[in-house]
Symmetry: C2
Subunit: 281 residues, 2 copies
């Protein structure tokens, strides 16, 4: 059996009882560590649940896992995934490869940013397509996600923007030399995401995200020090959201109850406090 | 402190370790039992975690909870919610009322159908607005959700349809007499949802859900006997999905990887098996 176990959002306490039971059944346990991160290292899981955990990077999950699957997973194998196992396409692909080999796969669901973002006060029902914002480079400044944002805005829908994560990325130089040297991990901030969006807005001019657009920056959702701030893009550019992970919501046509809930996270001095202690809201 | 604790989707094992810790801190524990249901009763939680639980019906959560909040929640209070606490608007409203009274609220997130539906193989990023399908009556046959389905389809997006639940609904007769008598609980099936959608389609004729549209019926997601079947609306009408809860997905423009994953759940004899045992896929 291959178990894909969702870990939720913050630390070793966000795994479910079902997840812990599955974990303890497994001879081999991997932690997927490139599509998202927790606030704690694998050691905390090893201590809390008495298991030994190997880190699985992109290469391992996308190709190295074929060796694991080739064993038939008769000794139960677990892949721990931050959030829910189906938050990233790469895990759907793994399920497909396992299925082709006749290996049974059991899923242990958990919260992910896709549903936990509900805590910022906007109804989950009223989100349109989710977009991913990649880091711009000198020569690569894609804007296809802007089309999806325009489409959501036209339908009055909110847009969740997932922000780029660069973990274990080799430098171009080192690749050219054939001996990968890895850059330090980078996690896109709400501020960088907004700068890039405003740059695209300036050239496209379709009004999907202007300096005055109502947005919500969220950081470390589900953690004791989570931060949620609602305000115009211009206001949020000045906010320091702290440590990763960050996400951004572009607000569509908000209902009165939604606006009332957002007031509690207002960036402007006249509003209620924009952040509150210890996972509270 | 008021704790809103998500329970996930199936039974007492889907609560997180953080949720269990919070639960044990509380002097009063309520289980919200009208926006969704688990496959087990409150007794299983009481036995597993050594707490006493009161059932909170709609009336209790929407107005009766004001008495609980009036105590200031100095003795910690927990409201257990199936799925994630922000799956239903009613809980966002409760957070707002608590906040106005200066009561701290802590959220314990969990999986909900909004993200767990990722298990059927379609990318969560490519869903549009979620729709709720209410039971038709003789005199009330609303179709406003059809507009949102049309809009999603035009953008090529998938649509998650949440199906009506009637729990503790008084009969009209008994209301007239001023002494409520409750009807047995009802949970809309995939079949009823499709019948209603096809009836609207027949009058509106915008092609958002025809007998040939590719749909996915899902039942008891996250449970050992979950069922996922993909096929045309016509094919799914003939499928018995078994016990509640059911949901329905109307497929938008699917990518090749999505279609490959759906094959594993095909309703047609030529496809792969449409269901698999014990929470596996």
């Amino acid at each position: 059996m291959l178990y894909l176990i969702g870990l939720g959002l913050a630390d070793e306490k966000d795994i479910t009882m079902r997840g812990v039971e599955a974990l303890k059944r497994c001879g081999k346990v991997y932690l997927e560590a490139y599509t998202s991160i927790l606030t704690v290292g694998k050691e905390r899981f090893e201590e809390a649940y008495g298991v030994k955990i190997e880190i699985a990077d992109r290469e391992m999950v996308e190709s190295g896992f074929d060796e694991v699957l080739a064993t038939g997973c008769e000794e139960h194998v677990a892949l721990l995934v931050v959030g829910d196992p189906f938050g990233a396409t790469t895990h759907a692909d793994l399920v497909l490869r396992a299925r082709k080999l006749g290996i049974r796969v059991e899923i242990v669901h958990n919260a992910s940013i896709m549903n936990a973002v509900g805590c910022c006060g906007l109804s989950l029902y009223r989100y349109g397509e989710t977009i991913s914002i990649p880091y711009f480079t000198e020569t690569w400044r894609p804007d296809s996600f802007y089309d999806r944002l325009v489409s959501n805005r036209r339908c009055g829908l909110h847009t969740l923007c997932l922000l780029d994560i660069k973990v274990k990325e080799p430098t171009l130089d080192s690749l050219a030399r054939g001996k990968p040297v890895y850059m330090p991990p980078r996690f896109m901030t709400v501020n960088t995401a907004l700068e890039q969006l405003l740059e695209i807005e300036a050239s496209r001019q379709e009004g999907a995200c202007t300096a005055e657009s109502l947005c919500i920056g969220v950081a470390r959702i589900g953690c004791a020090d989570q931060r949620i701030v609602a305000g115009s893009a211009r206001e949020l550019l000045a906010v320091d959201f702290g440590a990763p992970l960050h996400s951004l919501v572009i607000v569509g046509d908000a209902h009165p109850l939604e606006l009332e809930l957002l007031e509690g996270f207002s960036a402007s001095a006249s509003g209620a406090p924009s952040t509150e202690p210890a996972q509270s809201q």
